[in-house]
Amino acid sequence: MNTSDKKDTHAGMSSQDPDLSRIALLENIRNEGRVWEDLCEQYGVDNPDPPWKVNLEGTCDALSAEACALPLLERRWEEDELSETLYSDVPYPERQLLALAHSMIRRGLVDEEELARRMKEVNRRLNMV
């Protein structure tokens, strides 16, 4: 399969281009969030992938297979678009995560405000001593 074939295939994957308007919550994470590479350096950890990466993969798979809520090829097509635009300055797999959240919010699968609230709740829970 050559490059032009691939673009043609991609073009057929999504009925419309992804909504590339910025989402405040995700912009804040993009600007303020600490990526795995930085955390590894600070804490002396040499695992190349963040522990949550496998969970992210599981979520992507389950959303496609179990829910049909976000088919694989649509998600990947949007991830590619978002990775080259809004989240181009974010490393992988962080940008895959941002792209997934972006696609889910734009589809109404999750709401931006409830996602922000849940993140606070997760932070509180994980930081409990």
Binding site: Y43, L56, E57, G58, D61, L73, N127
Partner: protein, 230 residues
């Protein structure tokens, strides 16, 4: 006397990205998009896959010129014949890997080797999980710049008149190497051939040999000058 056990370093803070991943997953489960058990099954699958389907693809291609042509032209379609559907490899769902597999054919004058210099992209559905060394900066950085030197460290000496081509994986493409069929395997069945196509052969850091099987026990070599214990 108990030895002092030093804890391995770990990241001692919850990043926004970690919280985001968990929040997305929890909300999806609460909304009924999938269950926690669905999620667990997918992650378990991801940890249980192996390289046998890719070995079968190579062995089949060695025996069948038409299939070899298909494998080189359309790796995804050829994968179907060894039981891997890149759109549904688990049997119960889709992988998050991209679905463009390219099979790289070694020739007497060209040796391929695969890397992901950016992170750790790997053709999981057909080759299983990547080995730990594949993910290390040592391999990722050096194989691109000094491929012959790094291959030599794996015990693979490439003659000067053979080109070494390093294929860099990315989010869009996955690669696997189709090594040349070794001498001494004439008349072998597909099953026999598949046994000698090991994971490392398909990453490109080793060559298949008739006497080396993927699951064979390692020979034990006795020390020439054994240390005497008193």
């Amino acid at each position: 006397m108990a030895e002092k056990h030093k804890a391995a370093p770990m990241v001692e803070e919850v990043s926004d990205f970690e919280a985001l991943e968990m929040a997305v997953r929890e909300l999806a489960i609460e909304k009924g998009l999938f269950t926690a058990d669905d999620h667990r099954r997918f992650t378990e699958f991801a940890h249980s896959i192996g390289s046998l389907p890719a070995a079968r693809l190579v062995a089949k291609a060695w025996l069948d010129p038409e299939f070899k042509k298909l494998a080189l032209e359309d790796g995804v379609k050829a994968s179907l014949e060894v039981g891997i559907d890149w759109l549904n490899p688990t049997g119960f769902g889709t992988p998050s890997d991209y679905t463009d597999l390219r099979v790289l054919e070694d020739t007497p004058k060209v040796k391929h080797v695969v890397v992901c210099s950016l992170c750790s992209c790997y053709p999981r559905p057909i080759l299983g999980h990547s080995p730990e060394w594949y993910r290390t900066p040592n391999y990722r950085r050096r194989i691109v710049r000094w491929p012959r030197q790094v291959l030599a460290e794996f015990g693979l000496q490439i003659p000067e008149d053979v080109d070494v081509r390093v294929e860099d994986s990315n989010q869009k493409c996955r690669f696997m190497v189709m090594p040349m069929r070794p001498e001494g395997t004439e008349g072998w069945t597909e099953e026999q051939l598949a046994e000698i196509v090991t994971r490392d052969c398909m990453i490109g850091v080793a060559l298949p040999r008739p006497d080396v099987k993927a699951n064979a026990k390692r020979p034990v070599h006795k020390a020439i000058h054994p240390v005497e214990h008193h």
